[in-house]
Amino acid sequence: MKNKHLDAIYNGIIRENPIFVLMLGMCPTLAVTTSAINGAGMGVSTTVVLILSNMLIAALRKIIPDGVRMPAYIVVVATFVTLVDFIMEAFTPDLYGALGLYIPLIVVNCIILGRAEAYASKNTVTMSACDGIGMGIGFTIALIVIGLVREFLGAGTAFGVTIYEASSVFEPIAIITKAPGAFLVLAMLAALQNKFKMKSATNGVNGGEEKGCASDCESCGGQCQ
């Protein structure tokens, strides 16, 4: 892709999707995706914090001393999280109640600190903003997809609308909305993403192998060695 801004956004959504490829920010992913709405709320609030903190950290990247950069990043992120926290409490009280503790915990979200450390501290303000937008949209899409699958299988609804009711023919699989279901759905979606070899950082040039590890290291895209 020629445009470097669009490329940074595309990178966050597909090639280095924070959930399915980088496997960052697993706590909120597993905990709040009991429904698509909750996933979307979590995704959007994280995106806002991510974009703003990326921009501010990129702007301050030449001022922050290397030795105390982590505490400095935390202060920047915590400021924006507090803003988002208050705004959500005031305007979306239902969603705020559903997400609960996970809003303040955005402060220690690996994606935000990871992008600050790996990207924003080395790039310009506009590029960092694009990176934040891409990563945020990638995170939000992933959370909505996971939430939608879990909601559909585990409660028979989609975005809160009932699709099917429990009957003698089929009943929602309750375990999918509980904690084990989060791991199952996340792993299945990541496996599908790998199987269909969507262009991402972890799908090597030669592609994966057929089965487990048959010690066929040459054609394996894995990083085990």
């Binding site: 009943e171 699989i173 309750a174 375990i175 084990p180 496996a191 089965k211 048959a214």
Partner: protein, 306 residues
Amino acid sequence: MSDSLSVKASPRIKTGAQWGTLMFDMEIALLPVVLFAAYRFGFGAIKVIMASVLACVLTEWLYDVCLKRKTGITNGTAVVTGLLLGLTLPSDINLYVPVIGGIFATLIVVLLYGGYGQHFMQPALASRCFLLISFADEMTTYTVDGISSATPLTVLQQGGAPSLLDMFLGNINGSIVEVSTIAVLIGFAYLIVRRAVKLIPPLVYVVSFVLYMGLFGGHGFDMSFIGAQILGGGFIFSVAFFASDIVINPRTAAGQVIYGVLLGVLTGVYRTMGFAPESVSYAIICCNLLIPLIDKFLPGKVKEAA
């Protein structure tokens, strides 16, 4: 990669035994249990077992077709998984439950981990736990001849004393396999004759479970209590068909002893302190997860495959 370097699915050490013959032995060993279920519960139980077997076989076939590779259903492993799963369910359960269970056991527990021989957990039991959490009401409502009543273990948990003879002969309520102790023992005897089982883990499992129940069960070594604990629930079935599994077991004898003790103690802990009266399946899948650890610390000497 040359053929001499290719790694085939386990069992690797036992010579002469193939997946096909082993699984055929398992099917024969399970036949008495299925026949007894047909006699005791009628057509309902057969429908449940058929649904579960079909779900397992079709899932594996579809998966192989989708991945465009030679299908492995002819060696009968999927049939055995389906049989084992179907037998652990209540006899009059809605048919979507065994179907979902079969799909989960085959697809998620086995195929996604690389197929039979590379799975790390008993597929049938993992799937039973999955169903138990998902469909709690369905899975714990047992009906025999149209009458639903408490299973012996529930009676026991509430302080009652079920009759041991009834439990042995099957005049009780429970899942399909819970009522057929004699049939399970016949199948187990057949497997021992065919040498298709490991004997150390089941023996140690029984001994450690009896010791645990005697010491910490709250009733001392009271034969009627311990007898009811052994005959109740899926204990005998799990000893005969799951603890003795030739694949999901530690490699060395010492490891198998540790595995057996863990099984016995965990089953005891779950039965005495757990909320649910029956927890053998949880105990077994927990211990399945520890097998790689046991093998790591007690690797033993692995003989070269002939």
